[in-house]
């Protein structure tokens, strides 16, 4: 057990904004000068909305059933767990039979699987991918690394608790969890969806400021809009 050095104080200097994102003047073909503020001009700056459920419960249940039986996973592997996902496509586990498929673009995915430790750098990408997925969307964390840091408990660059940053619907414990455990996790997630409790996206929208504060606390060079549409 390593001793903690009490004298150590981490540096809290702010990181300067990337050159590309700084406001700048551009000369138009007409010779006029216009101001470009990249983060405002390039991106939509709307906040995420809390989307209500369907008017009637029957419809919402029906929808939830469809959602649970059509889990489209974003093909995004973060840690060692990415390798545990691959067997799910093989004849031995065959996740397809449960309506689970992989999509290459966040726009078409409804489930983000954080498959292992998440370095700060990857976290940034994961947040972006998550925010770009359409609602309702679900997050599943794999392995102890996403739960409490796992073996990266003293790493300088790895987050320890995923749900500080993203609304997690389901954790699958293990280091790493085997594909069977993953399948079990999916089944549990399906139940949760069907029961209408998997409203992580709305949670995220409701507590947007808290999530953002947490995210920005660890991602020092925040170089994207607050919400990635």
């Amino acid at each position: 057990m390593k001793d903690v050095d009490d004298k150590f104080r981490k540096n809290t200097d702010p990181v300067p904004m990337r050159e590309e994102l700084k406001p700048r003047s551009v000369t138009t073909p007409d010779g006029q000068t216009i101001e470009i503020e990249p983060l405002r001009d390039y991106f939509c700056d709307a906040r995420p909305k809390v989307h209500p459920k369907a008017y009637s419960k029957i419809v919402e249940d029906f929808y939830n059933w469809a959602r649970s039986n059509s889990l489209w996973i974003l093909g995004f592997g973060t840690g060692c767990g990415a390798i545990e996902m691959r067997p799910l496509m093989t004849p031995r586990f065959d996740a397809y039979r449960y309506g689970i498929q992989w999509r290459p673009t966040p726009r078409q995915a409804s489930l983000l699987v954080i498959s292992g430790y998440l370095s700060v750098k990857t976290l940034k990408r994961a947040i972006r991918a998550y925010e770009q997925m359409p609602q309702p969307k679900y997050v599943m964390g794999l392995g102890s690394c996403t739960i409490n840091g796992g073996m990266y408990w003293d790493s300088y660059n790895t987050i320890k608790q995923l749900d500080d940053y993203l609304p997690v619907d389901m954790y699958v414990a293990g280091c790493m969890p085997r594909p069977e455990a993953l399948l079990h996790g999916f089944m549990e997630l399906k139940k949760r969806i069907r029961s209408g409790k998997a409203e992580g996206a709305n949670d995220y929208a409701e507590n947007f400021d808290r999530y953002k504060a947490n995210q920005k606390a660890v991602i020092k060079d925040w170089d994207m809009p607050d919400y990635n549409w």
């Binding site: 590309e20 551009v26 073909p29 470009i36 939509c44 909305k49 966040p106």
Partner: protein
Amino acid sequence: MVSPLLILVAGLGAAFLLGLLRDTSERVAFYVTVAALGFMSFVALSWTVSLALGQVQPVDIYTADARPPFAINLRMGLPEATLASVVALIGLLSAVFMRRDLMRLGRQSMAVLLVLIMALSGLIMTRDLFNLFVFIELIVIASAGLVLLSQDTRALGAGFKYLIVSQVISILLLIGVIFTYHANGSLNIDDIAATPMGFTGASLAMFLVLIALVLELKPFPANGWALDIYESAHPGFSALFSAASGTATLFAVLKLFEASGPDWAPLATGIGLVTFVGANVLALAQDHGRRLLGYSSVGQIGLVLMVVGYGADWGVGLYYVAGGLLISHAIAKAGLFWLSGMVKARQLTDWAALRQNPVLVVAFATFIAMLSGLPPFPAFYAKWTLVHAMAEYADYPLMAIFLIAALIEAAVLFRWFGMAIKREATLPLAYNLSHETVVLIAMTAGWVLSFVWGPLSGFDNLVTVVPFLFALLFLPLDILPARIKNVIAIAGLVVWYVTSTGGLDPLRMIFLTIMVLGGALLLLASFHAKGRRMGFYTPAMLMFAGMALLVTSTTSFQFFAAWEFLTVGSYFLILRGANSEPHALSYITFSLGGAFALLAGFAIAAEGHYTFYLEDLSEVAPELAPYVFVLLAAGFLTKTATMGLHIWLPGAHAEAETDVSPMVSGILLKAGLFGLFVLVMEMGRQELYGVDLTVVLVWLGAISAFIGAVLAAFQEDAKRLLAYSSISQMGYALFGLALMNHLGWLLAMMFAINHFVYKSMLFLAVGGVKERTHTKLMYKMGGLITLMPYSFVSVLVGIIAMSGVPPLSGFGGRWIFYNAIMTTDLRLPMILIFMAGPVGFLYLFRLIHTIFLGQPKDELRKVKEAPFWILLPQMIFVAFLIAFAALPGMILQRVDGYIGTLFGDRPLVWTGRIIDSQYGTWNPVAIWGVIIAVFVTVLLLLVWMNHNAQRVKQFNIVFSAERPFKPQTTHFAWNFFAPYRKAMGFLEMPVSTSFWTGVSNALHGTAEFARKFYTGNGQTYAVQLLLFVIAVYLISMGASS
């Protein structure tokens, strides 16, 4: 009447009078000189007018009251009077032009000038051989004296070389004269003519006389000395030397060749042709303005000499043709030399200084047009007559050489003109009011001459053709603001359209509508232009005039004149573009080349008859018909930019101004198509060496359609892309036309209409974008859809229409195409057409995607929609396209009926708005109905489901992990079809370009090499001269034995 002798007397007398004056009274001396020249001009002019009006008869004046051979006689007939007028007037104007230098050098120089003019007049009038010699020697002495006027020290050397050569010539001439006298017993030209000497070895004397006189005309290649004079002498003198001396000497030659009889004529023809060709080729390598003028003089005089020889038995016709050429050359060349006096620096590019004074630019253009034989100037009629005469005698090789040389000459001149319009001068214009006045008088004289010459031609007087006059009207109007001129132009076009539609068949009607009414529509976009827009309306209206005349023409002459009008007008229009100089040059070169092919074709078809009705093309002699077909087709294919003859098009269309591009693409190409229509309608199928020429056309069309499309897909420049697409589309039209069946022609017609509409629309849209973004490169744009929605809509409609996707009108073209090919035996060319279709998608999608879709550039984030006036015609086109797609019958049915009368069949059945063919059905309304119904339903469904979509910015896109930070780096645009290029890039090999570049380089190389022949050494020149004489003698003896 005053005695013509007074011309000589006045000159000499004034010269002597000058000798009596004091040295200091230059001013008085100058006025005496001008007065004398004025008097000479007056006498000559009064004779000209009286003779022309028939008030007096030609007179012969005998000196010493004796008859030849014991006395000299002078003659004053109409040719003599006219040329004497020209000489005297040029002398007068040159004197005014040279005022400062004449005053500087004092009365002696003025006396010399007077003597020169006197001698030239004498040379024109005299009928005595020895007198001829005397005048020539006087001219030599006077000229050598005037060369000294120049402040260029090099002129001294040039003058001395001139003297050396003159000495040699005078020796030859004197010997010739004396032996001629010995043989004939008389020195009188008429006496010699009475007993012509055969062209035999014994007639060496005659040969010497003739060759000595010809040598005075600076024949190629024995003319290095003359070029040096042109280059270094005072421009006022060069004007005299080229215009007046050349004219007078040529007339002397003409007299002698007339006297010597027909046997000698080939000598003149041969030397003339060689000179014309040689001078023009060598001129290619010149970048010195005055030397170029010198080459041009030599070439032109060579041309007249050739006419003298060739037209020996034309009688009055010879005087008409040669005179026209000679006088217009004299005016133009004098004008140009005078202009060169106002341009201080010597390079061709320095003529850009003329731009400071638009009137001088007009004058420059006039002179260039006069020299290159463009309508309505006399040389145009002369060219027409000459080529027809050659056709009559079936001298086809001669015709080919002549036309090629004429083309080279035009290329040289227009290259120069392009430089003057587009380059930057190193020195400003040396403006001088009297100089400008002199130049303007020359220009006016040119126009007056055309006006006088036209009626004499026996054809229409082109100067008085209404559309042409309308175009000219804009010259004085150019001081008005562009908008007012635009209103006048549109009104003029509409009025012309309304008044000239009567009696046209539907085919011509549609072409006329596209060309004139379409032009008016496109001119709406010109309201966008600010300021005065000098020099736009005259060429534009000239082009439209040409097209209006083209469609309504009935004879080959009218057709050809109209063709030249529209070519020249469009050339000036294209030249206005920002970087268009080289493209405009290649355009005019190819176009004139095509025009000359037409000329040759018409001439051969007419077998020398000057008036030839277009419908008589169907009755051309069978053994000539295929060649006529080939020539005419080549001419028209140049205009439609068929593969191989296309290399002028992309640059010309791409570099033209925003509103000019649609004119030259949407409208001008139709002129070629119209020509082809006339051609195949009248001539039908022709076979050459067992090959059906229409099949060749089918192949050419198919190749153009395919390669044009492939090349379009590889362009980065939006307007170039559209330009290549035009090549492709014209390929389709040509293909349809050459199928030689009803539906094929209907297809061509459909493409003519469609291509006009959507290409005009696209060019305007792209032009509008360019107005805002200041670039044509597509990869520098992107994401403009939200900023320029209307432009986007017009491009969208345009590309759907062009790609042939239902329901827009391009589909109609495809449908007719399929029906047309069902009835033809040709199958293989279809493959290329089939390939071209989908390739069309490539470039069309690229066009719309890289400009309007994708990611925007920072600097373009705030651009505005294209200007209203550029959008307006586009929106009209959009409306038309949709209407035409839904109700194609409103236009096509009439054309279909008309074509039916030609073929006597009826492959399409029009039931209401449904069109049935033997093979299938096209129900445009039902297509629209179904598509709109489905589209609206699906759209409503989507809106119902996704009405609450969050509108996001363009850069809110998903990334894999790393993300770009600037949208422009994410715009996928450059080399858009890289994979396609990998597979099909071999088609991009610039075969045609290499070929034509090779031709051009070879010519330039030849010129560059050959001009080294002129070493600058006076002795060498003299040797060359002697060798030339010997060579000509040997060749002509060999030819006659």
